[in-house]
Amino acid sequence: MKKAGIDPKILGVVLVLLILPAWEAIRIGGSISPLLMPPLVSIGSALLQGLIQGTLLVQIGLSLMYILTGAGIALVLAFFTLWISNLSPAVHHAVGILGALFHPLPGIVLLPIIILWAGIGPSAVLVVIVHSVFWPVLTNLQAGYRSIPETWRMTGQNYELAGWKFLVFIALPATFPYLLAGLRIAWARGWRALISAEMLFGAIAGAGGLGWYIHSRRVFMDSPGLFAGILVIMLIGSLVESMMFSLIERRTIQKWGMSL
């Protein structure tokens, strides 16, 4: 028997069910312009239309592709940096100092410089994402690496795992809880940075992602479309968090009894 209280899932449903009529009530009760608060029906139909016509789907796909590519590059870089900094204590400290300096910088703050250096193309968006993902992943990887129990290290040595083999077969799974925590932060930061970057950069190579979608809805004063875009960003954000990360967590560190 759980502690007396309420299932968060049901609470979530109840909350949404309360917010929706509240939205309509405020809108109608206050006779607020549909440009400020569009009716739910028109938001829904804008969403549906975007999905059916495929325009919204293309933008979603593009945004996800960007973030996956950026995250992939950042992951490879982070592992490489971890490897390098294990080889030399000087590098380790240098990376630590750089991390302390750059980790707190929101990717969007770097945008003006990135525009100067990497231009306004896809590469600039990727740089923003890589920055947002790299530092949290690296700092978590390093923390995780430091906390690998000695028994596992020695077990690895006993089976003659050294160098990359040790990293892949012992260090990677052993630091996985930390990696996952780092990826969670990275996702939150990267997703926000991506949407902001897309809103600033405009269309890139054929389409512009969800940020651009919202920007273009805004300039055409299409409020329902604007809210539909915001809704999609919210949904994807929480779907990735609650479905993907939770699923990975359940399939890995919870199954292994390794939760931090």
């Binding site: 028994t151 596992w152 020695m154 077990t155 006993n158 089976y159 077969f169 292994w256 009894g257």
Partner: protein, 254 residues
């Protein structure tokens, strides 16, 4: 337990003039030790006397400050799967793999690297030996403390190492389980004829398991029991109980 077995003349592991520790805090000072094939050497000693350091040096996990480690006639400096370590820590099975996968992992990277076809049989056999055939698909965190240590034994003996290095492997389980595990280890050693360097602070355990019992203190080793003694021999027990070094030691166990 049938009679004593023949112990070869040539040592399988030889520690020569080993020193370890820091300049102002020497842990080991010119320690010599020979272990012969299929004998069980138990090392007793007060906590902090360097028992664990000795084991790590024997497994080449730690380089001695002076002296050399000779294994099967060769100087060694890196750990290998012929000298396997079993820890006290119940967390020593890798948690991201099931028990079965842990053993397969050991075989795959250890002795049976190039014989994948024989893994399945070997895994089944070693699980059978420790009585965990029904726990093959369980993850380490699902095992009780005693089961986890059995699993560690299965993983180690599955690799059929030449030498086992055991660091108080039964130190963190309750008394009945410890006794069970001790007898299991006796059976395993009898079947596999594996030479074992067994570190413990438990005198009864040393008396039960060891062919030879050594006490490690700041002055080096004191031999308590000769290797002609059969494990568990009553005279050995009496002799050990009366030894002044251990009598003092029994009150300051870690």
């Amino acid at each position: 337990m049938t009679g004593q077995h023949e112990i070869p003349k040539k040592p399988i592991l030889e520690l020569k003039n080993i020193s370890a520790g820091y300049a102002d805090y020497p842990v080991l000072h010119q320690v010599n030790l020979q272990i012969f094939g299929s004998e069980v050497v138990c090392v007793l000693g007060p906590s902090g006397c360097g028992k664990s350091t000795l084991l790590k040096i024997a497994g080449s996990f730690l380089a001695p400050k002076a002296g050399s480690v000779v294994f099967q006639g060769k100087m060694v400096t890196n750990p290998d799967h012929h000298r396997l370590m079993v820890f006290q820590n119940q967390n020593q099975l890798l948690p991201w793999m099931t028990l079965e996968q842990n053993i397969r992992f050991a075989l795959k990277h250890g002795p049976l690297k190039s014989h994948p076809s024989s893994w399945r049989e070997r895994i089944a056999k070693s699980l059978q030996e420790v009585g965990l055939q029904n726990a093959a698909k369980l993850y380490p965190h699902q095992l009780s403390g005693g089961m986890a240590q059995r699993g560690a034994l299965a993983r180690a003996f599955g690799c059929q190492p030449a030498l086992l290095l055991m660091d108080e492997p039964f130190g963190s389980v309750d008394a009945p389980t410890r006794s069970e595990l001790q007898h299991l280890l006796l059976d395993l050693i009898a079947n596999h004829h594996t030479a074992t360097l067994f570190v413990t602070h438990d005198l009864e355990e040393a008396l039960l398991l060891g062919h030879r019992i050594l006490v490690l203190n700041s002055r080096g080793f004191i031999t308590l029991d000769s290797r002609s003694t059969k494990p568990g021999h009553p005279s050995a027990v009496r002799q050990a109980m009366e030894h002044p070094d251990l009598r003092a030691n029994r009150y300051d166990r870690p």
